[in-house]
Structures are given as structure tokens and as C-alpha cells.
């Protein structure tokens, strides 16, 4: 078998060196009742060609974003990733290395993580960021937990504009530890509604900008209200490119930023692996979950980088850890770093403007369709529309015409009573022709 280097002769020689008669001798501690006599009931070994054919057949049954007019967003965005990114992350030294616990032979990983931490801190407008979490949704959950530790209060107030999956993932975890959540009703443009719900037991308010309906909000007043009450402001961002155009969460007073970095460097990948961005204030760093890379010197006085403040983490703190997290997003984090290095500030701002331009053009095209109501006023690259028909059905019909027209809000939250709301995203990959095609076919479908 191509991945197993031992030959029968090797095995014989090795068993002899060990003093065992057969491999079964080495499994002697397995209770007899649990020993399998032979391979389990699954297909046998297959060559590369066979595996490629089988998996390609599965892949061929999926409609790919790049092959059709594509307008899906809602937390995962299609952007163009330069060829360099994917090439570098497949280098042996990045692909096949481990967590940098031996820093002398892992400076490659440690240095790019330090660069990543700086990029994320600057992008979010915050003083410090960690070396990434799994994704934006678990980053939000970790943010809420951190806020309860810092404030010693027990309640999180969550706006009606936060992505429902993020809300659910957060509730699943924080409820388990007795933290209360108050989730406001879904609302296109009401991040500030959280202000009225702030009380003495509020550890944090959680808002999203741009929110799930695309609305971009200046959350400065929300930050002020939260701080006046001794609570923290957590800002969730699901489209990292938006911070290339919009005022940063840090500038607006965020205490914790929990964001999704997938847009930079990473493909859609049907939902994962993604990369969670987590940034906070200087005085809160010891409460921050996840890995941290820090600068130091070696025995010869040379500058180097190491994992640091490890005592927050599970392998040392065990049952008193800030979180049970062990991995970060590794290669996805590297992909973000490389793509961001290629973009630079100049490129990121341009990219962001292009996204906004395409979304505005899409909005204008849809606004002209009878029966379509544009719900989102100020947006980055995504907006919500109200259709005169059930949005999920319309999306399915358009899929039949080879158009992926967006995400019906009911897919995220069927109980919200917003079955006629469609979330539409456009990026720099959206062609003018795609917009025209979408508008034409949608108009036909709605008129039918």
C-alpha cells in the first residue's frame, strides 16, 4: 500500500528485535471478545485513480459558485484568492508541521502568526488579537464567556441583527455554563435596540456590523451605553473585507471583536474550515482564549517568537482554563496572512470598494423589479430584499435556472416570520452580466 513503507521482511526483522512471534502478540492486552478477526465491512484498498473517480463523481453533483451567477452570503463570501496563497500553504514546511511547541524549529509558523496577530489587530482597530479560533461563530461564543469572566456578570444581550447560526452556537455553549442570553427580535436595522435592554446584570451586549441583513451601523453610542453600565461591547463581523472600507469596531468602542476571516485567503468550502478572528483591549489579554504568539529573544540575543501566556490554556490550567481550545486554524490562518500581505492596505481598500460597487449595482437592478422592496439602507456588499413570494421557493426556482440567487432568511431562522426576505450578496467576483441575468430571471419568476 503506497502510504505504508514497511515490507514483510522489515516486519519480520522488527518482530524479532522486539521478541514477539507475531503482531498479535503486541495486541495481547485487547480483550478477546473485542478482537476483530479481519478487516471490517468496508471496501478494500484503492489506487489514486479509483479514489479520484469516486470523489470526482460526488463533486460533480454540486453546483459550484464560480460556474453560475452567484449571490449567496450570509456569513460566507466568495472572493478571488490569488494563486500564490494556495501554493504557499501547500509547502511541506507549512502543511506538514505541527503546533510550534519547539520554537527553535518553528520560527516560520511563529513569525507568520505574529504577523497575523498584528494584521488582525490593525484590521479590527484593536490593540491585540490572538492567533485565531475555529471560526466566527465560536469566536462569538468565546467572547461572551470572556465577558462574563471579566465583568463577573451573567447575562448577554444579543441584537436581532446577529447571524442566527452564531446566536445558536453561542447559546448552545453559554447556556451550558448558566449564562443567560436575551436575543432581540430579528430586525433589519436595530443594533441600537440592545441599549434599552442593558441592566446591572449585563456582562455584554453583542451586535453585528454589517449585520445579517447587511446593515452597517456606527456602534459608538452602543459602546458608550454599555460602558456606562459596566458592560462590554462585543462586535461581530462576518465579512472581514468590510473592515477595509467601514469604520473599525475598535474605533467605535468595541471591547471584543469576534469575526470570521474566511473572506480573506479561504474558499467557501461548504462551511469549513474557516478562521475565527478574535481581538480585544490591552487590559483583557489574560482573559483571552486561544493561542497567542509573543516576541522574545534567544540565548544569542536574536529576536524570535514563541507561544506565550500558555497558562490560560487547557494543557496547563486544565479545569480552570479560559477555554478548552487546543488548535487554532493553522493553514487557514496562514492563507489569511498571505492574502492580506498581497493585498496590503491599498489593495484591501480597493477590493472593499469593488465589493460595495457591485452590491450597489445589484441593489439598483433589483430595485427596478416590480414587487421587490429593498430593505437595507446602508450596506457594504450584502443587503436584504422583500419579495412578493416565498423567498426559499424563489431561490429554488432560480436554482433550476442555474442561478444561485442568495440566501432566504427563513433558511437561517424559519420561526422569524420573514419567509419573504432574501439576503443578496455581491463581491468583486460578481459580473455585470450576472447581475443582469439575475434581475431578468427574477422579474420573470415573480411575474409568473
Amino acid at each position: 500500500m503506497r502510504y505504508l513503507p514497511l515490507t514483510p521482511d522489515d516486519r519480520t526483522a522488527m518482530l524479532a528485535a522486539i521478541g514477539a512471534k507475531s503482531i498479535d502478540d503486541l495486541f495481547v492486552d485487547v480483550p478477546e471478545a473485542a478482537r476483530l478477526d479481519g478487516p471490517v465491512d468496508l471496501p478494500r484498498v484503492a489506487g489514486e485513480l479509483e479514489v479520484e473517480r469516486a470523489l470526482s463523481a460526488m463533486a460533480a453533483k454540486n453546483a459550484t459558485a464560480g460556474a453560475v451567477p452567484f449571490f449567496c452570503g450570509a456569513g460566507a463570501y466568495k472572493h478571488h484568492v490569488p494563486a500564490t496563497v494556495d501554493h504557499i500553504i501547500q509547502r511541506s514546511e507549512f502543511l506538514t508541521s505541527y503546533t510550534p511547541y519547539q520554537p527553535e524549529i518553528a520560527q516560520g509558523t511563529l513569525q507568520y502568526l505574529y504577523e497575523f496577530q498584528t494584521q488582525v489587530a490593525n484590521l479590527t482597530g484593536m490593540p491585540v488579537a490572538n492567533a485565531s479560533l475555529y471560526d466566527g461563530s465560536t469566536a462569538m461564543a468565546e467572547g461572551v464567556l470572556m465577558a462574563t469572566r471579566v465583568t463577573r456578570r451573567n447575562k448577554a444581550v444579543i441584537s436581532g441583527g446577529v447571524h442566527p447560526h452564531y446566536v445558536k452556537a453561542t447559546e448552545t455553549v453559554v447556556h451550558a455554563v448558566g449564562v443567560e442570553t436575551e436575543v432581540l427580535a430579528a430586525a433589519i436595522d436595530a443594533e441600537a435596540a440592545v441599549i434599552d435592554q442593558i441592566g446591572p446584570d449585563t456582562a455584554c451586549v453583542v451586535v453585528q456590523t454589517p449585520n445579517v441583513f447587511g446593515t452597517a451601523t456606527d456602534v459608538t453610542k452602543i459602546a458608550e451605553a454599555a460602558h456606562a453600565a459596566g458592560a462590554l461591547l462585543i462586535v461581530v463581523v462576518t465579512e472581514a473585507v468590510s473592515m477595509g472600507l467601514l469604520k473599525s469596531p475598535g474605533e467605535m468602542g468595541a471591547d471584543i471583536v469576534a469575526a470570521e476571516g474566511q473572506s480573506i485567503g479561504n474558499a467557501l468550502n461548504f462551511g469549513g474550515p474557516y478562521v475565527g478572528l478574535f481581538a480585544t483591549r490591552e487590559k483583557l489579554i489574560r482573559q483571552m482564549p486561544g493561542r497567542l504568539t509573543g516576541e522574545t529573544v534567544d540565548a544569542d540575543g536574536e529576536r524570535g517568537f514563541v507561544l506565550t501566556l500558555s497558562t490560560r490554556e487547557q494543557h496547563i490550567r486544565r479545569d480552570k482554563a479560559t477555554s478548552n481550545i487546543c488548535t487554532n486554524s493553522g493553514l487557514c490562518t496562514l492563507a489569511f496572512t498571505i492574502h492580506m500581505s498581497l493585498l496590503g492596505e491599498t489593495g484591501l481598500r480597493k477590493l472593499a470598494l469593488l465589493n460595495h460597487e457591485k452590491a450597489v449595482a445589484t441593489r439598483d437592478a433589483l430595485a427596478a423589479i416590480p414587487g421587490v422592496e429593498i430593505l437595507t439602507d446602508r450596506f457594504f456588499n450584502e443587503f436584504a430584499v422583500r419579495l412578493p413570494k416565498n423567498a426559499a421557493e424563489v431561490v429554488d426556482t432560480l436554482a433550476g435556472h442555474h442561478i444561485l440567487a442568495g440566501v432566504p432568511y427563513s433558511r437561517l431562522a424559519p420561526e422569524a416570520g420573514m419567509d419573504d426576505v432574501l439576503l443578496v450578496a455581491a463581491t468583486e467576483t460578481t459580473l455585470d452580466h450576472d447581475i443582469k441575468f439575475l434581475a431578468t430571471v427574477l422579474a420573470k419568476v415573480l411575474a409568473a
Partner: protein, 522 residues
């Protein structure tokens, strides 16, 4: 003679023997590389984009005015920067990477090719279900392989890492106890002293009190101690099998029987599944929930620390509580249940947005299909054989923590053999670096003093094992002979010497900051 090249140059080495220091600090192929923030690239970009036709004035004050602080690089510069960094990393592709408990096996490149098929990588998680039937088919097929290999009836795919899987398993257990009205009284989780830190961290996170279970002299769970601590106030036990000492828990059937009799569930940490895959099914051992690290047993890349994936196989009793989303296959094809409804009515919630680590599912399935059931069984056998070979060939010079009987896929040594040499496990590990090897896992498990945990995996050839063993033997002999400086000052030949971790923790510097008065952002 015809015209010939008369420009002479020597073709054999000359006799200069002394080695002067270089003038720039460079060392041959190894380049020094500053941070991207320390270059000149504050206005550059390596991406060609069309000119935007908007200035976003429609967004008024929401537009970001101040510089962000992100340098840019042209493509050649970016390539150089990251290639130079890459040269400072050790990797599986370079040599045996014997980290115990991590399963650093070869990462097949077919997996990378398959994961990058646009049909898997260029699909959005919220597209209409009819347009992603192939993706759901892949998830369902992976589920089938995982269930069959483990002998378990159900699997939750969404956890994003092993630790996330532990969270999933414990939350399913808690949900099951809540459903039967027993959660209020069952607030304890029993964890062996040898457990990985994520185990007690996760149990505490979910609201349980962690009670430690002792270990016997031969490195296994003390069943008598376990039995004495089991009761109707215990929700679950968390046991790693093979355990963190690299040993198979002989009494595992008794352990699971006692646990179930006490009305508790058996959570198994599946980090060491590589030792038994295809030869033993956790379902046959009485396991109720077990996370599987796809980045360990099933070869998805470690990538310098991630991304991982930790699906959790579940027993009949726990299956109803698996978190959303569920992939269901019926006569109409595949569908997703994304909230607590229909068959997934009792799901304990959702662990993350969307469907989980699809990119890792593709890689893992590619790996499984390549090996097949027979290949996977061979994987476990060769992994165990390789570890025992190392144990046998080093046992005369180094002290095995549990010398009697075979180990499984990893060999555990303690620092008893270094007594009196003034050389610690840490020193020994750093000297391994000079010899060209990534050190083994050190100081874990905590139950063994100065632990050295060596896991070769099945993808090491006998030649590489022999090369490693030879180096270890020479080092061990040097340590015993009192060659202290070699160890205390190591590493001498790595890109950097030992780093000051105290300084990094006392005065954390977690980001680059522009010098005062510079015109660069942040």
C-alpha cells in the same frame, strides 16, 4: 587539438579548512527574514484589481478614514517572504516527527487534490440542498466509514477540532441526563490523572466537577478506585484508550460495565485511535461517545496547528442528542436538518455555524478510501509495530516508564535514566534538534516524571526508524557519559537557540507596533 575552452577554473575543492563567520549573518540557504511590517511596502499591493467606480460616499461617516496599518507585497516579494519563513520549520516531510499523542503521519497529497476540486471547495454552505447533493453524499459516506470502523450507530460531524468534539460528547451526555431527569444529581465526571488537559477543561466547562481517578503501577486506570468513585452522582467517565501512557486499558470491558451499571456514560478520548483502527471497535468496548481527530488518525494536515476536525461517534443512547445539523438520506436524496426538529428534535443545539469542516471531510474520506478496510487495519499494526521496535531498541539505554508488556502506538520513557547526569528531559529534547529530529512529546503525561512520549506512526520506514534510533542511542550514551554541555546549550544548529519564554510571559509583546513618530499606521 581543436579549439578548446581556455578559461580555466578549478573543479575540485581547495584546501581551506578554517570557517570564518559570514559578513552579513547569512548562513548559506538559511535566510533571515524580517516582519512584513519592517519593510518598505506600506503602499504596495500584489493584487491587480480594476479601478472601483465608487468612492462609497453613499456611506458617509461610516467610511474608515484613518490608515489601517497593513503593508503589501508584490507577488515575488510575498513568495520570498513566506518561502524564507518556511525554511525555519521542521516538518513531517523532512524527517520522523515523533510527537506522542499527535500521530504525525504522512499527509497524502491526493487528499489535497481532492479537497480542491471546485465541486467541494467552491460551494456555499447555504445553497439550495438540491444543488449540493454530492457534498451531502460525501458527508454521509464519511459518516458510514466512521460508524463502521468504530462499531457505533451514529456520528456528529460538526465539531471543529478534538477538543470541540469532547465538548460535543459531554454536552450530548448532559442532554441525555437532562432528558431522563438525572442531570441535577449527576454533576461529577471521573477523569484519570493521566488525561490530556482538554478532558478536565471540557468537563469543567460543561458544568461538571472533575474527580480524579488513580492510576495503577502498571499505568492503567485503577479499577478499584474507579468503582469506589462511581455512584448515582456521576454523569460520565472520560477515558483515553489506548491511554496517554501508550497502553491499552486491559480492564476496559469492566470499566464500561461498572460505568453503565452506575447509570453513567463512557466518554472515550479517541486521540489514540491510530493504534487500534481496523482491529478493535470502540463500540465493542462499551463506549458511548468518542471523538476522532481526523488530523491524527485520518491524516488531514496538522498545518502548523490547524485546522482540525473532531467528529464524535455516538451510541444508541446518545444519538438522539447529537447537535444540528444532521445529514439524512432517504428516497428523495440527501437533506440537512439544521435545527432541533423532526428526527433531530432532541439535538442539544448547534456547535458552530454551517456544517463543520467539509474541507477536512474530503481529505479524510480520500485517505480512508485509499487505504480501505484492509489498509487501515495494516495502519494500526504497523503503528504499533514501529512503536514497540523503538521501545525495544532504546530500552537498554533509556528507562521505559512501563517496561513490562508491549506498548501500543507510542512508547513512553521517563527521566529515571538521566538521574545524576544533570541533564533534564528538556535538555535531551533540545539536543535531538541538533541531530536533525523534532523532539518527542515532553512532560506529558503528567503522571510520569520527565515524560518522553515517542509515537513514530506507521508511515515511517524501517530505515528512518533505524536512523532515529541510532541518533537517540548516541545521544543517550553521551548523556550517560556526562557530556553535559552538548545538552545544556542545545540547540546550537537550529535557526535559533533556546528562547526566553519567561520574558515573553512577563512582558507580553503580542504584535508589531510602529515606532513613535513614524508615518505608518497603528
Amino acid at each position: 587539438m581543436s579549439t578548446m575552452n581556455t578559461v580555466g577554473r578549478p573543479t575540485a575543492p581547495n584546501q581551506v579548512q578554517t570557517k570564518p563567520a559570514t559578513l552579513t549573518g547569512g548562513r548559506g540557504l538559511l535566510q533571515n527574514e524580517p516582519l512584513i511590517f519592517e519593510g518598505e511596502g506600506w503602499g504596495k499591493t500584489g493584487v491587480d484589481l480594476p479601478e472601483p467606480r465608487t468612492d462609497a460616499s453613499d456611506l458617509g461617516d461610516l467610511v474608515r478614514k484613518d490608515p489601517i496599518g497593513l503593508p503589501g507585497l508584490s507577488e515575488p516579494e510575498a513568495m520570498r517572504h513566506y518561502v524564507r519563513l518556511s525554511q525555519k520549520n521542521h516538518a513531517i516531510d523532512l524527517a520522523i516527527y515523533p510527537l506522542g499523542s499527535c500521530t504525525m503521519k504522512h499527509n497524502p497529497r491526493l487528499n489535497e487534490k481532492m479537497a480542491r476540486l471546485p465541486g467541494f471547495s467552491d460551494i456555499h454552505p447555504l445553497q439550495p440542498i438540491s444543488t449540493v447533493q454530492g457534498a451531502l453524499e460525501l458527508m454521509d459516506t464519511l459518516s458510514h466509514w466512521l460508524k463502521t470502523l468504530t462499531g457505533m450507530p451514529a456520528v456528529a460531524l460538526s465539531p471543529k477540532a478534538g477538543a470541540h468534539g469532547e465538548l460535543c460528547g459531554l454536552m450530548a451526555i448532559r442532554a441525555a441526563h437532562e432528558a431522563s431527569g438525572q442531570h441535577e444529581k449527576r454533576r461529577k465526571v471521573l477523569v484519570p490523572t493521566s488525561a490530556h488537559g482538554t478532558n478536565p477543561a471540557t468537563a469543567a466547562f460543561v458544568g461538571y466537577t472533575v474527580v480524579e481517578v488513580a492510576q495503577t503501577e502498571d499505568g492503567r486506570v485503577d479499577v478499584a478506585d474507579l468503582a469506589s468513585k462511581l455512584g448515582d452522582d456521576v454523569a460520565a467517565i472520560m477515558v483515553t484508550n489506548p491511554n496517554t501512557c501508550g497502553l491499552f486499558e486491559r480492564d476496559i470491558l469492566e470499566i464500561s460495565r461498572l460505568t453503565h451499571e452506575a447509570g453513567a456514560y463512557f466518554y472515550c478520548d479517541g486521540a489514540n485511535f491510530n493504534a487500534i483502527v481496523g482491529r478493535v471497535r470502540p463500540g465493542d468496548l462499551g463506549v458511548d461517545a468518542m471523538h476522532i481527530n481526523l488530523h491524527k488518525t485520518f491524516s488531514t494536515p496538522h498545518g502548523g496547528g490547524g485546522p482540525g476536525a473532531g467528529p464524535v461517534v455516538l451510541s444508541e443512547a446518545l444519538a438522539p442528542f447529537a447537535p444540528a445539523p444532521w445529514v439524512v438520506h432517504d428516497d428523495n436524496g440527501y437533506r440537512l436538518i439544521e435545527r432541533e426538529e423532526d428526527e433531530a428534535e432532541q439535538a442539544f443545539g448547534r456547535l458552530c455555524a454551517f456544517q463543520g469542516q467539509m474541507g477536512m471531510y474530503v481529505r479524510a474520506l480520500s485517505y480512508m478510501m485509499s487505504h480501505g478496510a484492509d489498509g487501515l487495519r495494516q495502519v494500526a499494526e504497523d503503528a504499533v509495530l514501529n512503536a514497540n521496535y523503538i521501545k525495544a531498541r532504546l530500552g537498554d539505554l533509556m528507562s521505559a516508564a512501563f517496561p513490562d508488556g508491549p506498548c501500543m502506538h507510542e512508547a513512553l520513557f521517563d527521566d529515571e535514566w538521566l538521574k545524576g547526569t544533570d541533564i533534564t528531559t528538556l535538555d535531551f529534547a533540545k539536543a535531538m534538534i541538533d541531530e536533525g529530529f523534532h523532539p518527542m512529546t515532553m512532560y506529558f503525561p503528567l503522571v510520569v516524571h520527565g515524560a518522553m512520549l515517542i509515537e513514530p506512526t506507521e508511515t515511517e520506514s524501517k530505515a528512518e526508524l533505524d536512523r532515529f534510533i541510532e541518533a537517540m542511542r548516541l545521544l543517550a550514551q553521551a548523556a550517560r557519559a556526562g557530556d553535559v554541555d552538548r545538552f545544556k546549550g542545545a540547540p546550537f544548529h537550529a535557526p535559533l537557540r533556546r528562547l526566553d519564554e519567561t520574558r515573553a510571559a512577563r512582558s507580553p509583546v503580542l504584535r508589531w507596533t510602529a515606532p513613535e513618530g513614524s508615518n505608518q499606521a497603528a
